[in-house]
């Protein structure tokens, strides 16, 4: 369990590192990716509730509406639990596409609620930036698989 907490900590740090205004939108949602990984590998321990807790931390970090990312996190937890079998049977790149779909739905929920409360308009960049996930997923997957002793039971 220590590995899970540690990886979430690192992901939260990566999410909040400042990259400057231009690149910030293209910083992949590391926490969501790590959440998907653990939901998949440890389905009995990590699920929607973990997503909810991590999402609350993201809410406080982003200094925004409390409960917004928590909702997104719960959704990702549920989706991964449902699509566990598909993830297990796919190659790395097809996995990345499935993960991209999950991140898109996460962004849709978060963005939609955010636009209800503020006048933020969800521009093209908001959706386009999610494509980075396709590149980031293999990195997250490989690192977590090689560096942590926790293995997925086939």
């Amino acid at each position: 369990m220590g590995w899970v907490v540690l990886s979430f900590f690192i992901a939260l740090v990566l999410d909040s590192v400042s990259l400057g205004a231009t690149f910030q939108a293209f910083n992949p949602p590391w926490t969501v990716l790590v959440l998907i990984y653990w939901c998949w590998v440890l389905p009995a321990q990590v699920g929607p509730f973990t997503g909810f807790c991590v999402g609350l931390l993201l809410d406080v970090l982003s200094a925004g509406l409390l409960g917004l990312h928590a909702l997104g996190g719960s959704l990702v937890g549920l989706l991964t639990n449902r699509l566990r079998v598909i993830l297990g049977r796919s190659t790395l790149w097809r996995q990345a596409l499935v993960v991209w779909g999950m991140v898109l739905s996460y962004k849709a929920v978060v963005g939609w609620i955010q636009s209800l409360f503020t006048t933020t308009d969800l521009d093209f960049v908001y959706w386009l930036s999610s494509l980075v996930v396709v590149l980031a997923w293999p990195v997250v997957y490989t690192l977590l698989k090689e560096l942590t002793p926790i293995k997925r039971r086939a």
Binding site: V17, L57, A63, L66, A70, T118, T120
Partner: protein, 283 residues
């Protein structure tokens, strides 16, 4: 198989419960202040994350200062000494004026202006949300900051404290799309509302009709209405006034005087009642 199915259905029920919990939390967060202690506790949990995330920025800064030549540092130092002398001279005059102002107010039996207390905070190089105009500073509940506290930079109004965590707090800039503040034109005292646009160099001045006297180049200061910001501090300069015959209101844009997100240091201000309150607390 049966076990598998029951586990799945329970996870759907669990998810539904979580969604309801999120809805309740979001409602409570927008309408009430019940969740302030929760935020404080969670803020304590994420504080290490913020400090670790700030490290790359600090390292970059360290390398910058390390690479800087002695002459350039010397030049900046001389400039600062110069400026300090000039500012202190102006302060002498300010003190005299302040005394005079106080006497005049007494003669007119107008209420005295409240005192202000200032604390310097430092920007943490941490991204908050690219779709919001927010910054993070290294002062928090331990410095008795409060939500809604005005934040300045050396040039003008920067924003207000939006969220207080134990050791850090988030500042909502006046350019955030969810932010609006009452302002006044220095030239004629016209009152208006300045709303953020989400772009760091632009504010929108809303609800001014073509009859209102506002021009390009007008300076806008805080009007002090609403009591959140002290009156008379520079906010923005009007950069464009467009009159559209089909629209009931003027389209006025202004550029903020404070340099959004370019300053390393910000000033946290306690004014009026909050100044005396915070003084009492620190005793």
């Amino acid at each position: 198989m049966a076990i598998e199915r029951s586990r799945q259905s329970s996870s759907f029920a669990g998810f539904f419960a979580l969604v309801m919990a999120c809805a309740v939390i979001m409602f409570a967060d927008t309408r009430t202040s019940f969740l302030e202690p929760v935020r404080l506790v969670l803020g304590l949990v994420v504080t290490p994350v913020q400090f670790v995330a700030g490290v790359p920025g600090e390292v970059g800064e360290f390398i910058d200062t390390w690479l800087e030549s002695e002459e350039s540092v010397r030049a900046v130092y001389d400039e600062l000494v110069d400026e300090n002398a000039r500012l202190r001279f102006r302060l002498q005059r300010m003190q005299a004026l302040e005394m005079e102002n106080r006497d005049l107010r007494r003669i007119l039996s107008a209420p005295q202006r409240g005192e202000t207390r200032v604390l310097v905070g430092e920007l943490l190089e941490v991204s908050v949300d690219p779709y919001k105009q927010n910054i993070l500073i290294n002062r928090g509940a331990t410095d008795s900051l409060y939500v809604g506290q005005p934040v300045f930079d050396p040039d003008g109004l920067l924003g207000q404290v939006g969220e207080v965590m134990p050791l850090s707090s988030a500042v909502v800039l006046i350019t955030d799309p969810s932010h609006a503040l009452p302002v006044q034109v220095t030239r004629n005292g016209l009152r208006a509302i300045a709303v953020g646009t989400g772009q760091p160099d632009r504010l929108r001045i809303v609800y001014l009709t073509p009859n209102d006297d506002i021009r390009k180049g007008d300076r806008l200061v805080t009007s002090g209405l609403g009591g959140r910001f002290p009156a008379g501090y520079p906010v923005a300069t009007v950069s464009e006034v467009v009159e559209d015959a089909g629209e009931p209101f003027l389209r006025v844009t202004a550029s903020p005087i404070a340099r959004m997100a370019h300053n390393k240091h910000v000033l946290l201000v306690w004014h009026g009642a909050s100044a005396s309150r915070s003084r009492e607390r620190s005793r």
